[in-house]
């Protein structure tokens, strides 16, 4: 373990750490930290560029053998997550021009980066906790509603349960395979003994809890609704991405066989169906996105049925498309003094007449999330189901696709509100600020690239 290897291979993490330190120092030195947002954006962008550079340079290294590893795919995973964090930061100017939001978010990002590189269950656990704990606070801050506290507590308790389940699973894994390395999960997957099976189920359940797969989803709609828009966007996209990347690391290229197929197919399928059905009944945008993201978590876990080698690629590609589009919807959402008002779907009525550009962006995002071609969401979904069919689970794939069909309606409803309804009576929305529009333009550019040239991404992951 030499110093250069550590400093280069962990460059993105180091940059984030530097950013956190800088933000804290800034907070101590000056009470009113106007510079917090620029600093955070600079450091996160730098970290993203560093990760991308590591990926393109094909850098491989294991600064802490057996704990932390860096390969091009993991570097690209980090680059993706960090790049997605930039629009979230830009969006937050409205709600959190200053304060604790930025160091918390960067800490959480550090956790996500750790997840991508984790090589053992210990590092993975550290990453998961580092990712989650700041988010409990993010749900609370900047949003003065009594429900926020309740939702944050709910999330804390359930997330804590997930951590406990994960730890228990990891220790059982250690008991049955004698190693804490991620590879032992693959061994446990194929082992017939009860201890190993229990371990696998506990670890998978922990992932399901964190990713809000039904029946572990109860916290998600409340937490999403209680948090402010940037926090919700962060949870819906980046936390989900972190959990899925962690799951993809744990599963590695292990082949999923019976009886685990049932666990990995039925619960995600139920999530797809129920998430889509429940989303139809939501009056608020954020609850709708919450249920929709439950369904999307279902699609993502479907990727694990697919063949091992293409799994990481499918998950990352899906996260890229899903993340970009979800953030686009959040960023283009017209600002409103009253956060509860801002959230009401009814208030989107007639948006096209007042803010055509925002309406077009949100419309695109909705169609993409619905998986309608030619938007990137379709290509990502295609890749996942292609892998599932190639792995021989045709029936599950068809069921999953039909489940995804159920979701089309509520995405269309948003478009219907924006384009086909007369303007809402109480629409006092100011247009989004330039900086939020900047965020949506970043997402738009990303999504166009994903849709037109998917090969660029596919070749990398």
């Amino acid at each position: 373990m030499n110093f250069t290897a550590v400093s280069i291979a962990m460059a993105p993490e180091h940059l984030l750490l530097a950013g956190i330190v800088a933000l804290i120092v800034l907070d101590i030195i000056s009470g009113r930290a106007r510079a917090a947002l620029p600093i955070a954006v600079v450091f996160v962008t730098a970290a993203a560029i560093a990760a991308a550079w590591l990926g393109f340079a094909g850098w491989t290294g294991a600064p802490f053998p057996g704990q932390f590893v860096l390969t091009p795919p993991t570097a690209f995973a980090k680059a993706l997550v960090l790049a997605l964090a930039v629009p979230v930061l830009l969006m937050s100017k409205e709600d959190f021009g200053e304060g604790a939001f930025y160091p918390l978010l960067l800490s959480s990002l550090y956790g996500v980066c750790l997840l991508a590189s984790a090589e053992s269950f210990l590092t993975l656990f550290l990453g998961i906790e580092l990712m989650s704990i700041p988010v409990y606070v993010l749900v609370l801050i900047g949003f003065r509603r009594p429900e926020s506290a309740e939702a944050a507590l709910k999330y804390l308790v359930l997330s804590g349960t997930a951590s406990a389940s994960f730890l228990m699973g990891a220790s059982l894994m250690y008991g049955s395979t004698g190693s804490l390395g991620l590879a032992s999960f693959g061994t446990a997957l194929s082992s017939p003994d009860l201890l190993a099976r229990t371990a696998v189920v506990m670890v998978v359940s922990a992932f399901f809890l964190k990713a809000a797969i039904i029946p572990f989803h109860g916290w998600a709609p409340d937490a999403y609704e209680a948090a402010s828009v940037p926090s919700t966007a962060y949870m819906a996209v980046l936390v989900k991405a972190g959990v899925l990347i962690a799951a993809a690391r744990v599963f590695g290229t292990a082949h999923v066989a019976e009886p685990l197929v049932g666990l990995l197919a039925i619960l995600p399928l139920v999530s797809i169906v129920w998430g889509n059905l429940a989303a139809m009944r939501q009056p608020g945008l954020r609850r709708m996105i919450a249920y929709s993201s439950i369904a999307h978590a279902g699609y993502l876990f479907f990727a694990f049925l697919g063949d091992g080698p293409g799994r990481f690629q499918a998950v990352l590609f899906y996260l890229a498309a899903y993340g970009v589009m979800n953030l686009l919807a959040f960023a283009a959402l017209p600002a409103n003094e009253n956060d509860i008002e801002r959230d009401r779907l009814e208030n989107l009525k007639g948006l096209f007449a007042t803010h055509p550009f925002a309406a077009l962006l949100i419309g695109m995002a909705m169609l993409s999330l619905a998986g309608i071609p030619p938007f990137p969401g379709f290509i990502a979904k295609f890749l996942i189901f292609k892998n599932v069919i190639a792995a021989g689970y045709t029936t599950w794939a068809v069921l999953g696709l039909v489940g995804s069909y159920l979701g089309i309606y509520f995405y269309l409803r948003v478009i219907q509100f924006m384009f086909m309804s007369p303007e809402a009576a109480a629409s006092g929305h100011a247009p989004s600020r330039g900086i939020a529009m900047g965020a949506s333009l970043i997402c738009l550019a990303g999504s166009i690239v994903i849709a037109v040239l998917p090969s660029l991404f596919l070749a990398r992951f």
């Binding site: 379709f378 069919i389 190639a390 068809v398 696709l401 269309l412």
Partner: protein
């Protein structure tokens, strides 16, 4: 040989037009209209060049462009003209300017968005017809939903939201099944031949066991049958038509429905020949049920738009009948019928729009004796009605006649094998012709003759713009009726290819070649 640059131009002109419209200043509606019309006219002019240069003696693709797009999945950007699609491309570009001009006075709100959507749907439809790669085809096929969803939903009538959601959800359901089938098919091609490719030409080589073929055909067929629409999947159509603005109806009847029949001809049947031959009795029965049932429904409608909507179901039944007859004339007749129906139904919907703009009602009972009041209108209406009935010298006759010939030929072929079922089917289809004449003529009689009843009258007869649209349209109807040869020549090789593809067994048992297909077999 047609030129690939021109094809690319024809395909992407609408996109350029859409972007240009977005850049035009708001509130300049007149400018937007003129601009759209000129782009559409240029597009049609370019496609005439394509048509003229299309060499009927060359099999396979012409004006092809092929670029590797997502090599990891075997997806390529592959577009080209063949005898299957040349006429449909012509039909699409021909109707473009007419739809545009027809909507000048009807569309007054969100004009920019409207013409942007017309451009977009034009692009998606053309793309669907010229795509020669299944992934690309699917992208275009689905992309067409979005502009249509907006066209019906924003500029439609009273129950437009319901109608447009119904249209979208119906069609999307078929597409989802098709998607699963597409993935499975490509995967099977890979496992049986080692080729990873979405190109049609490669997929025709896939060897699938009969059971898999049947499942896949069912998935494709449901998707296409919804689009055509065949009975029993037709219930979205009347709603969509009645609520859609005139332009939407014309696009829907004129081109969109043809995407379904085109899909059957280019993909559904040739990809799964063994399953198709097995399902022929079922398919021809459904086609005839569509013919007769559509006609019966058209007979009893009180809304003039609905009459034409149901007549579409009936007329597209003939197309399906021609396709499953597997007889050369029948297949060519089916293509002819597709084009003819596009012209005639499109024209009729335009005319319904014209009268609706004047009288603001689609209630048939409210009208009567228009021939005295609106002589020019009535002449055109009568011509189109007769074309719809299939009067000789009009395009309707060519298509219908050939399809019935094909159906009878198939019937005799079958009866030589001892089954007279197909003959019965052909016989009932002929009865459908009589029914078709009945409802259309009865409609014209109530509409144009009898006691004078003009709601919100007196109204002015057609203006110059409307007359020009109809003159051009009627000229095309007669041209196809009197000189079908030019079009028939161009479809002949494709029809033969289709015939051969569907007639050749392709289960693994019936193999001539196993394992990887040799290079010389790959066209």
């Amino acid at each position: 040989m047609a030129d690939s640059t021109i094809l690319t131009l024809v395909l992407y002109l609408p996109v350029a037009g859409m972007l240009a419209i977005a850049a035009l200043p708001a509130g300049r509606d007149g400018l937007v209209r003129t601009f759209t019309l000129s782009v559409m006219v240029v597009q049609f002019a370019l496609s005439i060049i394509l048509y003229a240069h299309f060499d009927p003696a060359v099999p396979g693709l012409q004006a092809a462009t092929s670029v590797a797009w997502i090599p990891a999945w075997g997806v390529s950007y592959l577009i080209g003209l063949d005898g299957y699609n040349i006429l449909l491309v012509m039909l699409t570009t021909f109707l473009g300017p007419l739809v545009t001009a027809g909507a000048f006075s009807a569309i007054t709100k969100e004009v920019k968005l409207f013409y942007a959507m017309v451009f977009l749907i034009q692009f998606a439809m053309l793309g669907t017809f010229v795509a020669q790669d299944l992934f690309l085809f699917y992208l275009f096929w689905e992309a067409m939903l979005i502009p249509m969803f907006l066209i019906i939903g924003i500029w439609g009538g009273e129950r437009r939201i319901y109608a447009t959601l119904k249209f979208f959800l119906y069609t999307a359901f078929g597409s989802i099944l098709m998607l699963a089938a597409v993935i499975y098919l490509v995967y099977s091609l890979w496992t049986t031949t080692g080729i990873t490719s979405f190109a049609f030409a490669d997929l025709y080589k896939a060897r699938l066991p009969l059971e898999a073929q049947q499942w896949l055909l069912a998935a494709f067929a449901i998707s296409f049958a919804i689009k055509v629409p065949m009975v029993p999947f037709h219930t979205w159509l009347p709603d969509a038509h009645v609520e859609a603005p005139t332009a939407g109806s014309v696009i829907l009847a004129g081109v969109l429905l043809k995407m379904g029949t085109y899909g059957f001809m280019k993909l559904g049947f040739p990809l799964f020949p063994d399953a198709t031959r097995l399902a022929t009795p079922l398919l021809s029965t459904l086609a005839v049920v569509s013919i007769v049932y559509g006609a019966c429904l058209a007979l009893v409608q009180k809304d003039i738009k609905k009459i034409i909507a149901y007549s579409s179901i009936s007329h597209l039944g003939y197309v399906m009948l021609g396709l499953v007859s597997l007889d050369l004339l029948g297949i060519q007749g089916a293509v002819m019928q597709m084009v003819s129906h596009g012209l005639v139904a499109g024209g009729l919907f335009l005319m319904v729009g014209m009268i609706y703009e004047r009288c603001h009602t689609r209630e048939l009972a409210a009208y009567g004796g228009l021939a005295k009041v609106l002589p020019v209108y009535s002449v055109f209406f009568l011509i189109l009605t007769l074309a719809s009935v299939g009067l000789p010298t009009t395009s309707g006759f060519t298509g219908e006649f050939l399809v019935l010939m094909g159906a009878f030929a198939a019937g005799w072929r079958e009866s030589a094998g001892g089954s007279s079922y197909a003959l019965w089917v052909a016989g009932i289809a002929v009865a459908g012709v009589v029914l078709g004449a009945l409802y259309m003529l009865w409609f014209a009689q109530r509409f144009l003759f009898g006691a004078e009843r003009v709601p919100h009258g007196p109204v002015a007869d057609l203006n110059l713009r409307e007359r020009s649209i109809l003159v051009i349209l009627v000229a095309a109807v007669f041209w196809l009726g009197l000189f079908p040869d030019s079009a028939m020549k161009r479809t002949e090789l494709a029809a033969r290819a289709y015939q051969e593809l569907v007639a050749t067994p392709r289960t693994p048992m019936a193999t001539k070649v196993t394992g990887p297909v040799p290079a010389e077999a790959a066209r």
